[in-house]
């Protein structure tokens, strides 16, 4: 099927179903088709899209005066379709898409908590982000809510949250978190179990809700890029890249080629660093200390190169609107390439050692199995999806610069267990190393930053990039005076967290930590 064909087919089918689609013109080089439909068609649209095999990718709302605009982003074969509808501020109601797309469930609950938009027919009536920090009738993302919020001293514990119960003799609950024993982010996991066997797992996230969406309002582009870099600390490059991409679209600004290449280098370096850390952490969770120490060591070396070349170990604030902050000199380019050769050699040694160690294999093979159909149903992205046969990568399928200039292979596995999430990370490291080398070779002298142009009021942008965890979608809209009016970053974790509940089933309790680590969702990126 021709790439553009499916949107046409879909449109025809929608018209047959009596849904009027208002195709709108996009602002500068937006990577998606934009449709507007009426609120009553919101649910039928999802039905037809599901039949067409579209993946639900993101959903958010914004307030424009007396109206709410609700957005949903779909994807198929690398083509994105952005659908929006408008509803009134008085008694805002919308048919739910979560009864069709499982992935939309938490997102709609989030929107419901933040805007007070009621989703009719949503299978889950419980709050998601709200906890007890603000009461039921307060909606922080409405424009009448003050940006500084109304912080109380202590948020009371949400003891009455109706977790799913297991019935039958001998079942019990394990509450884990939000405070974990290790130094990780907060999140609550509620297990229903019989002895060691996990019957069900339910996640309760939202403990790191920082109000990112609210505090973004009224920021300048530079400040927003900084904020975006802090949506999830380990994905700082990709989030700020996605935000900058969206802002540049809104401002109809293009960036210099050298800047794009450097952004690519930064993003790949981030990917390598995180994957190295993750592989080490997986080893740590099965008490395989030798490998953990080795991976920590090579990651540390990698981060030190980051610090010496880009001025920040974790590459924060390197991507700024219009380009990048720091350039790479020729000698630094050579240093990076030498580094890569060194890393490759060490990795090969370590991986051979791992390969020979059956005690590690024993833990990761067949454990934490995520079947392909569940991965498809939840629209799982990134290495989690690719380990379960989801062959999608924004870098390849959308080919935004600089990835349009290089050829590379996206690793896909179908085994779906921890081992395949382990090995896919390793393959992605190897691919990323190759990409960095190619980008450095492609670097040609030139500018790294274009001057910022103030966008017109109401202009919007949609940035989609492949972060190290997977596809990142960032939507933003400008107000007058170069100020942000709405910023919504969708971290890949939002799509990946729900499948953790599925992949731990039939595993035993002590295998949960390594299952969780193999998925490694971001709490901060999810809670916003």
């Amino acid at each position: 099927m021709n790439a553009l064909n499916w949107t046409e087919t879909l449109r025809q089918q929608l018209e047959e179903a009596g849904i009027v689609v208002d195709q709108q013109e996009l602002t500068h080089s937006q990577p998606a088709v934009l449709w507007e439909i009426s609120a009553k068609d919101w649910h039928p649209l999802a039905e037809v899209s599901m039949l067409q095999g579209l993946r639900w990718s993101a959903g958010w709302a914004e307030q424009n005066g007396e109206q709410f605009t609700v957005h949903a982003l779909f994807e198929k074969q690398g083509i994105f379709l952005l659908v929006r509808t408008r509803i009134g501020c008085k008694k805002p109601e919308l048919p739910s898409q979560a009864s069709i797309y499982p992935a939309a469930s938490r997102s709609e609950r989030h929107t419901q908590d933040m805007f007070g938009i009621k989703f009719i027919g949503h299978p889950d009536k419980r709050p998601w982000t709200r906890h007890k920090a603000w009461d039921k009738h307060t909606h922080p993302l409405r424009k009448d809510f003050p940006a500084q919020g109304s912080p109380e001293n202590i948020t009371p514990p949400d003891m009455d949250y109706p977790f799913i119960r297991s019935h039958g003799a001998g079942t019990y609950e394990i509450p884990v978190g939000p405070v974990h024993a290790g130094i990780i982010e907060p999140g609550h996991f509620r297990f229903q179990a019989v002895g060691e066997l996990i019957l069900n797992l339910e996640e309760r996230l939202g403990y790191v809700h920082k109000g990112i969406e609210k505090i973004a309002e009224g920021r300048t582009p530079q400040a927003l890029a900084r904020l975006a870099g802090r949506v999830s600390g380990d994905t700082t490059v990709s989030h700020s890249w996605a935000a900058c991409m969206a802002m540049e679209q809104a401002a109809a600004l293009s960036i210099p080629g050298r800047a794009a290449l450097i952004r690519g280098i930064l993003a790949e370096r981030e990917r390598v660093a995180n994957h190295l850390g993750d592989i080490g952490a997986i080893c740590n969770d099965v008490a395989f200390v030798f490998a953990q120490m080795q991976f920590t060591r090579v990651r540390e070396n990698w981060l030190r190169t980051n610090a010496s070349v880009f001025g920040h170990r974790l590459l924060m604030d390197c991507v700024i609107p219009g380009g990048v902050k720091s350039d790479i000199s020729d000698s630094e380019g050579r240093l990076i390439k030498q580094d890569i050769i060194q890393l490759r050699k060490e990795l090969t040694d370590i991986i051979t050692a791992l390969d020979l160690n059956s005690s590690l294999e024993d833990r990761v093979y067949t454990a934490g199995f995520l079947p392909e159909h569940i991965a498809t149903a939840y629209g799982t992205v990134g290495y989690v999806g690719r380990a379960s046969g989801q062959d999608f990568d924004v870098r390849r399928d959308l080919a935004y610069p600089p990835y349009d200039q290089v050829k590379f292979k996206v690793a896909v596995e179908s085994q779906g267990d921890i081992a395949s999430r382990f090995w896919i990370r390793y393959k992605e490291i190897m691919a990323a190393l190759k990409l960095i080398e190619q980008f450095i070779d492609l670097l040609s002298p030139g500018e790294i930053l274009n001057d910022w142009q103030v966008p017109v009021a109401g202009s919007e942008g949609l940035g989609i990039v492949e972060g190290w965890r997977g596809e990142i979608v960032t939507f933003l809209r400008f107000d007058a005076d170069n100020k942000i009016s709405r910023f919504y970053p969708r971290d890949p974790s939002i799509l990946n967290w729900p499948v953790l509940e599925k992949l731990v089933l039939n595993n035993i309790v002590p295998d949960f930590p390594v299952c969780n680590k193999s998925l490694n969702g971001s709490y901060s990126g999810n809670d916003l």
Binding site: D355, L356, S358, E361, Y365, T366, A419
Partner: protein, 225 residues
Amino acid sequence: MNIEQQDFYTQAILSMAALIGLASFLMLGQGRLLRLIFVFALQGLLLTLTAALSAYSLDNHHLYISAGLTLVLKVMFIPWMLRRQVLAMHMNRDVEALENKTLVMLGGASLMVFSYYVLHPIVQSSSTIMVNALAVSLSVVLLGMLLMISHRQAVAHVVGFMSIENGLFFAAIVATNGMPMVVELGIAFDVLVAAVLFGIFFFHIRTSIDSLDVDRLNRLNEIDQ
């Protein structure tokens, strides 16, 4: 006839026998091919030591040669070749799911007991060391067969086959103070040829049915067609 009364050579040989039996058990319990091959090499090393010890104690020089042959062949060449093939065919990460490892192991233990009882009558007519060596080598042979029965991978079958040969070799060293040189050379040559032939076979099986799982060979059965 208690062990305290035996000379050091006998004790050492008996301990070697125990270790060689243990190595067979370890092989039986291994699901991973690379580990299996490693333990196989270990068993070869134990055999080498036994042969060298025997040669030294009995002043039997041609046993040095068979020790050397064992070292080269069973500790180095065959494991190296098998390992290379496993890596080349990406079988190192295959999970060999044994039906019930514990049961197989307990079956192995009872085989060992069985071989002792089979050979027990000889105890009256022969020395302890002879009986024990024979008993251990018989159980190594039986365990090798059990290994072939319980594992699905063709490589494991080869290792099982080789360990059967190890058992026989051990009996030969200890019970008869080494076979005539010619016989030994012949056997060594046979093993070598067998190993190479297996290697070639692997590639053929692999290319024709895309797996080395011998259960998949069932598909070649005509009745199934």
